[in-house]
Amino acid sequence: MSWLSLLFGPDGWGGLLLEGAVVTILLAVITAPFGFAGGLAVAVLKLAAPRPVRALCEAYTTFFRGIPDLLSLFIVYFGLQALIDRIAAALAPGVHLQLDAFAAGVVALSIIVSAYSSEVWIAALGAVPRGQREAARSLGLSPRDTFVLVVLPQTLRIALPGLGNIWMTLLKDTSLISTLAAMDLLRAASEASRNTTRPLLFYGAAGAVYLAISIVSGIAQAALERRFDGGHS
């Protein structure tokens, strides 16, 4: 069969790849808000919390930034599964609950992205001039309003390039869940190439789709940065 009909023909594998691409994009889009918000929370804790909490946050980021993302995924996946088994055994003996690979992927990738992005947030929070905070406080804004209305918007502008880099990493890291049982883009390509013995075609096609998503992300990121720049440059 020609490569065109293998991809786009009536019995082609294009549909499966497309579904896989949707799973990949969904995984990244669902994970990103959790990961970025988690990273911001960790950053604030590292800067302002009492010493033991700070040390805990430090240990958390060092751990997940220092080990392979694949290993993080396995630790979360098998760790959560063990936890579920234990809870199930206590509450309803004999019931077996299988952890969904997609859900485990969201949790694991959120944890990884939080660890990575906390460093970006810390640098960005530190780059907002002190006077901004002092001025807001002396105008009578509450600490909460000072943070939300004055500090955070400026932090976001500075953090945006760094967060964009992490988004790109996340996009590529989603492919790791293909090693569990989730049918993402890469897994779809594996399935197709196993059935047709045309790995070059299907992994090449998957690569092209990843590349397209990366390029679109890059354009969107540039537009966002312009939008948040607000006359700074």
Binding site: G66, P68, G79
Partner: protein, 241 residues
């Protein structure tokens, strides 16, 4: 308090496991170190021509380098690894006829090739940024003094550019260590592969934690070593007090 803590730790971490399978993890670590050292070293050598091509005035050369970099940075490493490892099987006849099949048959070679090509793309971008960071006036001044192209590169550009590149290159090294765990998925028995092997035998979750500690020690050691290297090489830049 301490007793409960150690009891809890003993509950998760199984020391007997380490006694039985510890040597496997050490063997795996050796393979990981080998893969990382070879692919990072070759990647560094390959990165320079790619970087020069990317900065070249030749439109075709620059576009080629740009596409290379975009592909290797824009797609997942796992996808690239599958492309090489399974893709080689598809063109087996062609590879056999040029005598390369013996190489591509080996997962080890496919990993080295993929990781080298991948890290070369990242390192080329690091080098490009570092070279661009050297002030233009320096090169103009050197040219005005009559220095040749080689001497300008050797004595003016490289000493300054390498210092700028040092930190991102260190991060890339750590990145390759972490990425090398993917070798386990194409049957390699690196640290991750041995870990998966032990888990498949024992279903003991703690082996993943032991592997994590080993990776962590490795990456932290390099991070600290790199910090020290940076401080000592860049000491002439620090203001004297």
């Amino acid at each position: 308090m301490l007793a409960t803590l150690s009891a809890w730790l003993a509950g998760i971490l199984d020391i007997d496991l380490l006694r039985t399978y510890g040597w496997r993890l050490i063997e795996g670590l050796k393979v990981t170190l080998q893969i990382v050292a070879i692919s990072c070293g070759l990647g560094f050598l390959l990165a320079y021509p790619i970087c020069r091509a990317r900065m070249s005035k030749h439109a075709a050369l620059a576009t080629g380098a740009r596409c290379y970099i975009a592909f290797f940075r824009g797609t997942p490493l796992l996808c690239q690894l599958y492309l090489v490892y399974y893709g080689a099987g598809e063109i087996r006849a062609a590879l056999t006829s040029v005598g390369l099949w013996a190489l591509f048959r080996e997962a080890y070679f496919c990993c080295l090739l993929t990781f080298t090509l991948n890290t070369a793309a990242y390192q080329a971008e690091i080098m490009r940024g570092a070279i661009a960071s050297v002030a233009k006036g320096q090169i103009e001044a050197a040219t005005a003094l009559g220095l040749g192209r080689y001497r300008i590169a050797r004595h003016i550009i490289w000493p300054q550019a390498l210092l700028v590149a040092l930190r991102p290159l260190g991060n890339e090294l750590i990145g390759v260590i972490k990425a090398s765990a993917l070798a386990a998925i194409v049957t390699m028995l690196d640290l991750m592969g041995q870990t998966r092997f032990v888990f498949a035998r024992t279903f003991d979750f703690s082996v993943y934690l032991y592997a994590a500690v080993m990776y962590l020690i490795l990456t932290e050691a390099i991070r600290r070593l790199w910090g020290r290297l940076e401080r000592s090489l860049g000491r002439h830049l620090r203001p004297r007090i």
